[in-house]
Symmetry: C2
Subunit: 336 residues, 2 copies
């Protein structure tokens, strides 16, 4: 397994994520309340040895906080729907999230910046070992890990990489690439739903097949696809943007001008503009070098995260007002 | 005749212009070279008593300088086309321009800011008196002043007012108004050609009829139409913009952000954005109070005027680059 520099295709490769699905031996995938609460305790106890985790119960959190955690990919809608026994253990830097009583009894997740699937898997594997010592994990010699949904059988693993692909999006070539990738047993999704694709130019590529293949082979196939997509993207960027420097710089700076002067900033408008600023930043055409800060801003100003920062739920107009204020301040600061 | 405060409908009423067409008694409208050059001398001599004028011969000026003067409405294409004897006498603040050997032998023009048709006419009338003392002006008791084109017969006068009408443009109501106004013997034109109307929201309203009506009645009819259009415009502005303050402010500030960050700024994009900034300025929603400076900028960055400021002809891309630079600096300064 190659170890990648997190700076590899910086800007294009945003984050890596590994998710493992686990269930309990001789127990249903959906536990009754008593067993469900019991397993939360056991997971909590097991994880004491691995990292510092905060334990959150869905039933103790308000709607906005839950939605904000979902926007940060820490929890899923499926977990939110279980407000009887749904829980999540999350470490302080939010790189690890262990959901309990989701679709599967346990779903372990690790997030890392850059192309770091192997590293993320290794971290999660250590956690998985601790869990196996403390809980009877459902495993079948032929089928591997047993999961609620048969599409997760085997490794129970999903390896995903979040990508920023402006040139493939603008040229329309992303569609053909999505078809090619799906023939390799991989899948590409727009990060914030189908409609947002063209706006934010962000995509998530992940494995579809989990059975009859090793964890490292899954990682390898995703990594290879990511690298090959990034190669094509960079070639296209050279043609579309680098060779048309003035036009690209103009678009990036105008987008920056709108973002730093906006009074109202709907999320979709923000997404479309920040993509232009980020591209300008990646190509050194705009005086902002920290593209990761731009990626973080993209999550921070999603609707629910915005409300969490404001301290209370906000109506649509107030959200757009507060988003404009936050984005303006942040971008001014990044340019200093 | 009412005397208007130049602040009346400030922003909406940009400038007033009076033009008088005159020809010589018993002479053709298009003079031969000898007579044409002779009349330039006579006009120049006559005007010594009225104001300081600079005399320009078309044949002595380069293409860009001529085009720039045309963009500033000081001279016409018809004058430019006469590079044998075409000449213009222009005073230093460019409020007076007397074209010689245009379609008519003499075309006197006076420009003033705000709704100042009467004042402009009085200034021009004094000049016209001086010219009549020194030249034999063609005048017929029944037809009035004789002109090359019969549509100018009588007074030989065109009274025009330049208007900024964003609400009438955006609502599409301008079209109906143009029809109404033309029934009154007046005409409304987009300032920079038909296509630019929706972009810059600028219009010129002027009289069509010159015969069988006094100068002051022409002025009165134009003024009345201007005031009635401005009343409708302001009511619409209240509804479309003042009552939707956040949206209007947002558009104005975003436009300001683009104009102050642009690398490339084609004129049509500039026109559309400066209209939003000006509207925001008129409504006190943006920190720029000098709307006249915005109007002046709109002329200063037209293609030929831009080249004159740069000092030499520029290709399209260089124009857009230089325009972006000039506009950015100017707007930053206006906000200080």
């Amino acid at each position: 397994m190659a170890v990648f520099n997190p700076e590899l295709y910086a800007g294009n490769i945003i984050t890596s994520r590994i998710r493992l699905a686990r269930n309990l031996k001789d127990m249903p995938f959906s536990l009754d309340e008593k067993n469900a609460k019991d397993v939360v305790k056991k997971v909590n106890r097991a994880l004491v040895k691995t990292d510092t985790f905060n334990l959150y119960f869905v039933s103790n959190l308000d709607e906005i906080t839950l939605e904000a955690m979902k926007e940060r990919h820490l929890i899923s809608q499926n977990l939110i729907d279980n407000n009887v026994s749904g829980a999540a253990l999350i470490n302080p830097d939010e790189s690890l999230s262990i959901m309990v009583n989701e679709e599967d009894v346990i779903r372990e997740q690790c997030f890392m910046k850059g192309l770091m699937l192997t590293e993320a898997y290794k971290r999660l594997d250590a956690i998985d070992d601790e869990l196996a010592k403390n809980l009877d994990i459902a495993f079948d010699e032929n089928l591997g890990y047993l999961t609620a949904c048969p599409t997760n059988l085997g490794t129970g693993m999903r390896a995903s990489v979040m990508l920023f692909l402006p040139a493939l999006t603008e040229s329309g070539k992303i569609e053909g690439l999505i078809d090619e990738v799906s023939e390799l047993g991989l899948t590409v999704r727009g990060l914030y739903g189908e409609g947002s694709r063209a706006e934010g130019c962000m995509y998530q590529i992940s494995n579809e097949i989990t059975l009859g293949i090793s964890e490292y082979d899954i990682i390898k196939s995703v990594e290879e696809a990511v690298l090959s997509i990034c190669r094509v993207e960079r070639e296209l960027e050279e043609k579309l943007y680098v060779k048309r420097e003035l036009i690209t710089m103009d678009k990036a700076k105008k987008a920056y001008g709108v973002l730093t002067n906006a009074v109202l900033l709907p999320y979709s408008e923000f997404l479309s503009l920040i993509a232009k600023v980020k591209l300008g930043s990646m190509l050194g055409m705009i005086n902002i070098s920290d593209t990761q800060a731009l990626d973080e801003l993209t999550v921070a100003v999603r609707p629910a995260n915005l409300c969490v920062q404001y301290g209370r739920p906000l109506g649509d107009t107030d959200r757009d007002l507060f988003r404009a204020e936050l984005v303006g301040k942040k971008l001014m600061k990044l340019k200093e």
